[in-house]
């Protein structure tokens, strides 16, 4: 079933919010890193993985989720966090390493945890897959119809945890959806050189679960496929594997010169920027410029507020580094 009008607008708003957020983070990240790029410097240190271009995957899937559904995400997680409803101010403050961050600056960009919406992410490829199966089993044991979604990149589909987690989910008939964001690259390694078959969704058969492939970064198709999978999981039908063709509009992390990327690839993808594509499609469906502008303004304000919140927040006291090692 195609998404309702208000769902589509909410999805668009999340996509825009994510994109604006990353534009803002990008600028902030580069502060103190110019002219000499040094990851350690500026208000946001460390690696920075942007998700621009991949918003449809997050938004189209999370549109079906409730707060009590769990999501485990990857190192490239901003879009997913936003789509899952992670508190944007606290998330931003976390990325700035501030006291008001989700974990008081302990985790940072690759370790965003928001227990209010059951979201977490990780810096280890495929690490979230087992926990998603566990979250799903917990829901099942509790008699709830909550589900879990594990997002990974196509590169992660060659990690052992992928295999073990899909098999375990299938054996347990756990209500979990595995979503592969296939952006064709694992850092500099192309999917076609790292992966023995063209579509990871075909690997679902190895676990007796349905596999769906969604081409072309198409948010409506993603929404559809995810809807089926979430519905199936809530109804006790067990796990599903979905692979989505998406695109990485930026480098693997900021500072990546992308010398390995064929000339023109990024320009081609930018021309098909899913934000532009979706805006056009929504316009064709009758959304007015006024509505777009109001959505975009709201998104802009949310992001600006979040950045301001983060910047104004204090740095944590050193002693807090010794706290919460144990609960």
């Amino acid at each position: 079933m195609p998404a309702e009008r208000d769902v589509r607008l909410r999805m668009y708003e999340q996509m825009v919010t994510s994109r604006y957020f990353e534009e803002a983070i990008k600028l902030a990240y580069l502060e103190g890193k110019q002219p000499l790029f040094n990851m350690a410097k500026g208000p946001i240190p460390g690696e920075m993985h942007l998700s621009s271009g991949q918003e449809p995957c997050a938004v189209g899937v999370c549109a079906h989720l409730r707060h009590d559904d769990s999501v485990t995400a990857t190192h490239r997680a901003h879009h997913i966090a936003i789509a899952k409803g992670v508190a944007l101010n606290a998330m931003t403050a976390e990325i700035f390493g501030k006291r008001d961050g989700l974990s008081g600056g302990r985790g940072g960009h690759m370790h965003l945890f928001d227990s209010a919406v059951n979201f977490c992410c990780s810096g280890i490829v495929a690490q979230g897959m087992g926990p998603a199966v566990g979250a799903a089993l917990a829901a099942k044991l509790a008699g709830s119809d909550a589900v879990a979604v594990s997002f990974i990149g196509e590169g992660a589909a060659n990690q052992g945890a992928f295999h073990e987690s899909l098999n375990l989910a299938a054996v347990w008939k756990a209500p979990v959806i595995f979503v592969i964001e296939d952006n064709a690259w694992g850092i500099s390694v192309a999917k076609r050189t790292s992966t023995a078959i063209a579509r990871n969704s075909d690997r679902a058969a190895a676990y007796g679960m349905p596999g769906r492939f969604v081409p072309d970064n198409d948010i409506d198709a993603i929404y559809d496929a995810a809807g089926d999978a979430v519905h199936r999981a809530r109804a006790g039908g067990g796990p599903t594997l979905i692979e989505i063709e998406t695109w990485r509009l930026e480098g693997h992390f900021m500072g990546d010169a992308e010398g390995y990327r064929p000339g023109g690839e990024v320009a081609d993808l930018q021309a098909r920027d899913p934000l532009i594509v979706y805006r056009r499609r929504l316009a064709d469906a009758g959304i007015s410029v006024v509505e777009f502008e109001s959505i975009e303004r709201r998104a802009g304000r949310a992001v600006a507020d979040a950045l301001e919140f983060a910047r104004k927040s204090d740095y944590p006291a050193v002693e807090s580094a010794f706290e919460t090692v144990f609960s």
């Binding site: 985790g107 998603a132 052992g160 919460t324």
Partner: protein, 349 residues
């Protein structure tokens, strides 16, 4: 075992249990008390655990709460973290500690860091129980201890009982703990007939719930001349040595670490402040191990040593298969006696 002694003194008739039974009993009591406690692992269902840690649990609690898993340690330990984050209290078994290499990420980078990365908002009340130790010819991939491998990494608590009383109490503490606890059990103490068992590990265990605190060592024999620090099996070797030493006029104080992380530094410091002599007995690899940490920790303090501290360990070689090779490499009471006598030479001369 001071605690044990007390318990034994007051309770009659005694219930002498093996560590395996004590662990199973602790888990069963917890499962009775709290529906959120579940058990996952290989062969923990119908078999009751290769090392008898889950005996009778499948029958009592059913397959939904006692779940045999595929041979997929990364997935099921990862799943346990997800279960714990969702409010469950999973107990997972890693059959042999030697297998940590296929799943350490889920343990040290995931379970151990949930609390920190979430600023304490997500906790990980998970027990990872795993067998350690050799001496029975199971060779280099089934006989390791790896105490320090786990204890070095923040976010994990690591415990190991030397007897059934502590096993039950530590297990109940571990299950109640909001954090991941690696519960090591030594095969030579486990009480599985087919492995042989040091008799001292089979002691009175009260039938009710009680806890042995994590992070606290036990002084299992007091003495003024030398401190012998052991853990698990080596506690028994140290006690045996202490008996021999006593006959030679050397009074050894024996400390059972019980917790490896956090280490009870105060207990060690208090003992060496008195004895000013220290031997650590550890069946793990020698270098970069528990013995080094205990000695370094003690030496950082201002002890006026009567002789330099020493360690008795497995050497830095893989654990060999042949009994002709393995046995002489492991710590023994005789080695402890020999080293103690050497350190106390001023006393015996």
């Amino acid at each position: 075992m001071t605690a044990t002694a007390t318990a034994t003194a007051t309770a009659a008739p005694t219930r002498r249990l093996t560590i395996a039974k004590a662990m199973s009993e602790a888990i069963g009591l917890s499962m009775d008390a709290d529906p959120k406690v579940i058990v996952l692992g290989e062969d923990i269902g119908a078999l009751g655990g290769v090392f008898g840690t889950t005996q009778g649990l499948l029958e009592r609690f059913g397959a939904a709460r006692v779940r045999d898993t595929p041979i997929s340690e990364t997935a099921f330990i990862g799943a346990a973290v997800g279960l714990a984050a969702a409010g469950m209290r999973p107990i997972v078994e890693l059959m042999f500690v030697d297998f940590f290499g296929v799943c350490m990420d889920a343990i040290y980078n995931l379970a151990a860091k949930q609390s920190y990365f979430s600023g304490g908002h997500v906790c990980c009340p998970m027990v990872l129980m795993t067998s350690v130790g050799g001496g029975y010819g199971d060779a280099g991939q089934h006989s390791q201890c790896l105490y320090a491998t786990f204890a070095h990494l923040p976010g994990l608590k690591v415990v190991m009982p030397s007897n059934a009383y502590d096993a039950k109490g530590l297990m109940l503490s571990a299950i109640a703990d909001a954090n991941p606890v690696v519960f090591m059990f030594h095969k030579a103490l486990q009480g599985m007939g087919w492995l042989g068992t040091v008799p001292g590990s089979i002691v009175h265990v009260p039938s009710e719930m009680y806890t042995v605190p994590i992070g606290r060592a036990a002084t299992v024999r007091p003495g003024r001349d030398i401190t012998l620090v052991g853990l698990g099996l080596t506690v028994h070797l140290a006690l045996q040595a202490a008996t021999t030493l006593a006959a030679q006029g050397i009074e050894a104080e024996v400390i059972d670490l019980r917790s490896i992380a956090p280490l009870d530094r105060e207990a060690i410091a208090a003992s060496v402040a008195k004895t000013r002599r220290l031997i650590v007995v550890d069946d793990d690899y020698r270098s970069f191990g528990v013995s080094a940490e205990v000695i370094a920790g003690a030496c950082e303090g201002d002890v006026d040593w009567l002789s330099a501290p020493a360690r008795i360990t497995h050497p830095d070689v893989p654990i060999p298969y042949s009994p002709a090779l393995e046995h002489p490499l492991l710590p023994s009471a005789a080695k402890i006696v020999e080293a103690s006598t050497r350190l106390c030479h001023d006393k015996v001369e």
